[in-house]
């Protein structure tokens, strides 16, 4: 299954993310974001970070998750490329992200994402997978 695809948005970058489970949807959304930020091809890392996040619903949880990773990218200088998400409940996730320091990989950086937005955000359950459109402000 395709992890995500980009769709046209005039000012910003839109992605349609897919996942067989909500966990996979969250993982693929994070992958899509870093795939836009940097060239992840062949990237191997030695950094792992654990996260525990809460929000009132899945959509806000998804944006909190992406924001948390962006914050770590900008302030700790880590490019993340692999994600393991466990949904504990509708308002809590545990996650692990694998990454590598930006410092050795500056030439991989492509696009500055300012934030993930809530614009028209809706996680949709299809027959056997989930889908969500996310607009990134770039």
């Amino acid at each position: 299954m395709k992890r995500y695809e980009q769709f046209s948005h005039t000012a910003d970058i839109g992605v349609r993310v897919f996942g067989r489970t909500l966990e996979e949807l969250f993982e693929n959304a994070a992958f899509a974001m870093f795939d836009i930020i940097a060239d992840l091809d062949g990237l191997k890392g030695d950094i792992t970070r654990d996260f525990e996040l809460t929000a009132p619903n899945y959509e806000e949880l998804l944006i909190s998750w992406l924001d948390e990773l962006l914050y770590n990218f900008y302030t700790k200088g880590i490019i993340f490329y692999k994600f393991e998400v466990t949904l504990v409940s509708a308002d809590l996730i545990n996650a692990k992200a694998f990454g590598r320091a930006v410092s050795d990989n500056r030439n991989r950086l492509k696009t500055e994402i300012k934030a993930a937005t809530y614009y028209n955000l809706k996680i949709i359950k299809k027959d056997d997978y989930y889908e969500v459109d996310i607009i990134f402000d770039v």
């Binding site: 005039t10 696009t111 809530y118 614009y119 770039v138």
Partner: protein
Amino acid sequence: MAPWNGPLEKIDEFRWRIPKSYMNGMRVDGVIYADDKMIEDIRSDKAAEQVANAAFLPGIVKYSLAMPDCHWGYGLCIGGVVATDIDTGVVSPGAIGFDINCGVRLVKTNLKEAEVQPKLKDLVYALYNDIPAGVGSKGDIKVSAKEERELLVEGSKWVVEHGYGRQEDLEYTEERGAIKGADPDKVSQRACERGKNQAGTLGSGNHFLETQVIDEVYDETAAAVFGLEKGQITLMIHSGSRGLGYQVCDEYSKDFIRCLSKYNINVPDRQLACAPVKSEEGKAYLGAMKCAANYAWANRQCLMHLARLVFEKIFRISPKDLGMDLIYDVAHNIAKMEKYDIDANEKVLCVHRKGATRAFPPGHPELPAKYKKTGQPVIIPGDMGRNSYLLVGTKKAEETFYSTFHGAGRRLSRSAAIRACRGRSISGELEKKGILVMSSGRETLAEEAPEAYKDVNEVVSVVTGAGISKKVCRMRPLGVIKG
């Protein structure tokens, strides 16, 4: 994408109305500034829908406005202007944008094109080397946590006092580079952390620093006041509040979703989450937004200072002879408290401008003494292959809460621009036109290719036709640094 099929009623040659009957919940009409040709571009994405969505905001006064460079964003469209009554209305971070006080400044020089051409390559390389740009770049200014709080309150003044520029630069910066009411206690630790190393960095995407030449003067009198004439070299800087502003908008957008139920507010898009201007939440956001705005003015002040040093180095002339005076610096993503006569009563409104420029008319009390007769300079960057403009505000712009457009406005998405440029050398094409470009981002030049934008000359003709701004002069790019 299917074109937008909602109602657009032609008011006159330059104005279109979305009647409030379009959606249940719209409190006022939407009004879009465009001509017949441009309205088709506007219909091609969802900008008009976002103009209608913003008409839901409580306390909105008169209409939800969009300038001719408007295009699809998130929350309010880019190019949107929304004024709310501060007693009954709301403030919405999504109607201001993540890049709080993204804005432009224009700097004059005493140089003529003939003096710059032989050294243009050296100049562009040196600007590219000496001015931090691109994803993850770090700035020149190292501040402690305490100093960062001072910078958030004092803005441009703080950096000038630390050696980045001159006192008189403050006179020609909107709000003198430090809007009052900034409250660093309302800026999170995380936002401060994201801003800490980024003061004095250009950023990426559409942010740029451009050396230009004035190729047409329309208003000799106003141009003379600004010290400008045909053939003269100018410098334009476009940047914002970097990670600090993005984090502020992010956190308050999230918190304000909670305010929608708390204050019983109905908006059709979560990114338009808002809180009453005078609520605790509203005041907190405004205190933080002002910090981000001050940070952005400080940032552009630093960038200008670094650029002045490069010019001095390349042309080996003294700052005095170089004459790199700031003409003006103006925000185009911000909310400001401004007084207007509404139904014969003076009211203070919270004017949200997202991708729109404040444009005060001649005589306005907030203008620097030197510009009282001309009106406020309106600085409009075009795309990197065509023109940029300097205009001034007009009395007529009272109808737009003294607001006007902010640029050419995107026409193509970034991915569509990259597709259109595949196999082409954008820098090569521009070089043939006499324009040197350098960029740190791999795909920035394709994303920012001239054809990705509307023709700024057409957008200018709409705002001047509608009478909400007046042309002073036009610039042509010579050397462009992109993030």
